[in-house]
Amino acid sequence: MGKIRRLVLDVLKPHQPTIIEWARQLSDLEGIDAVNVNVYEIDQKVENVKVTVQGRDISYDRILEVIKENGGSLHSIDEVVGGALIIDESITLQDHLRTGS
């Protein structure tokens, strides 16, 4: 079965546990080599974070468990990369038209 190598998730979480704790717990999961948790919006009680995980074989279910256990709620899955290599999205003509570059 194909392996997930990178996941980018948009998550709403309470301020506690902190993103430090989140990064620690996510990086403890098997098959994960790197974690990036980035806050992009802060509210009075909650914050929106972009969670990027990269590894050899990422288990989406285990990541979801960590998110739920820490009181987070998954808003969207913004990027998934699978397979033997990690590739970024290709720039197409439509992207140029959209950005005007």
Binding site: P14, P17, E21, K45, V46, K68, E69, G71, S73
Partner: protein, 198 residues
Amino acid sequence: MSPLRRWLQQLREYEDIAEVGEIARRYFAMNAFDGILTMIGVLVGNYSAGVESARVVISTGLATSMAIGVSGLWGAYFTESAERKRDLDDLESYTLTDLNETKIGRASRAAAIVVSLVDGFAPFLAALVVLSPFFLTSLWGNIYHSYYLSLVVALGALFALGAFLGAISRENMALMGVKMIGAGLLAMVLGYLLRLVE
């Protein structure tokens, strides 16, 4: 990881999430203070009534300290549980998820238990310390020595509590200790004045 280490780590995590330390410290100081002052009241009352049996002083003191302990335990548990449940409900309205079975929900429940234990045991232990000379009355044979010693112990405990609060607030520890002694002396004087009313 050993079970004890895991338990300690979990407790530390809960402390970070639910901020148990600060509130437990507050309850400890507040209720130890209550325990000491209540015991001063019991001692001055017994002294004014001319009670000369260490057993009577110990049993009234212990019964009172247990009642304060139970009151602290119950009162703090239900108050803290209610407050924390409200906070959790409030947070759930933001995350739109059930947080009860998450780390946050468990930390919140653990916090209510820890805080109520502190709230119950602080006055009980403080009262026991004040009462301790009466357990040794047979050593010096005179109950009035136990009364005086107990009152001195009570003032000493108040000073220590004041110094503890001084250390927390980074103020002058000795001055805070003396301020706390002031409350003890006031309780003693008021209790003693009852003699004049009788």
